[in-house]
Symmetry: C2
DNA sequence: ATTACATGTGAACATGTGTTCAATCGTTTG
DNA sequence: CAAACGATTGAACACATGTTCACATGTAAT
């Protein structure tokens, strides 16, 4: 005896209204991809550590490399990604380039993330 | 003429104090990996869409699969990851399993992330 | 018990990605 | 100009990961 659709499964008399309602309430795919990309950038230990370090103090590539114990090149690659997504900004000072967080939103995300761990 | 250390680079008379100070102020590596893992889970379009959908309404695997247009199996795999990291919880109802967000922290992270996009 | 069906799992594949090495760019200094 | 040095870039490699297919599990109904 078929129930009134509770699920989108094939064999049930489907009530697609619920699914459609949710579909309509979530952001468009393009927005989701941008958001996912932001979270993904925060989702790697190396980049996360870079961002947390920059949330404390402005640092140059060398500082970060020595901080994380990996190549300056690797840091530079990651900083480029963070730069492209406007998570960090930079400032030239002679031969060196100093990086810092681009806006406060990033700092908030980091803070909220850390708060999430305490429960 | 060497400046007083402004950077951790090899050739400068290094003042490692700044680097050390930052080193001491960021969370231990274990914490960072847990946090990074949380962000990483949010950092994939599929999972992000799952979580956003669940932030609106409790859904079963079939609903989500029909929502995203990918295999039930794929959804199940992703839900397992989200379950293991306590981002979602589930409830059995007969043959079906209904999923929902585990706690409010996830919802907050999603909200903050979306806010971050508006600037 | 046997069928039906929603969900879960394991293996395999394709794809994405972080790191390193080598070479180059940009700036400063001799 | 040439040398020194910090930063960047590109190619290549190793590795992680998301999806699918086929099969297993668990629950409900006949």
């Amino acid at each position: 005896m078929p129930e009134t659709g509770m699920c989108a499964c094939e064999t049930v008399y489907v009530d697609k209204e619920k699914v459609q309602a949710v579909q309509d309430n979530i952001s468009p795919d393009e927005t989701l991809h941008v958001l996912a990309n932001t979270f993904k950038l925060l989702g790697e230990p190396t980049r996360l550590k870079i961002l947390l370090a920059l949330s404390i103090e402005e640092l140059c590539v060398c500082d970060i490399a020595s901080l994380l114990g990996i190549t300056r090149s690797a840091i530079s690659h990651q900083l480029r990604l963070l730069k492209n997504s406007r998570l960090v900004k930079f400032r030239r000072a002679g031969k060196m380039v100093y990086y810092s967080l681009d806006d406060q939103h990033v700092k908030h995300l980091l803070r909220d993330g850390l708060e999430h761990l305490r429960d």
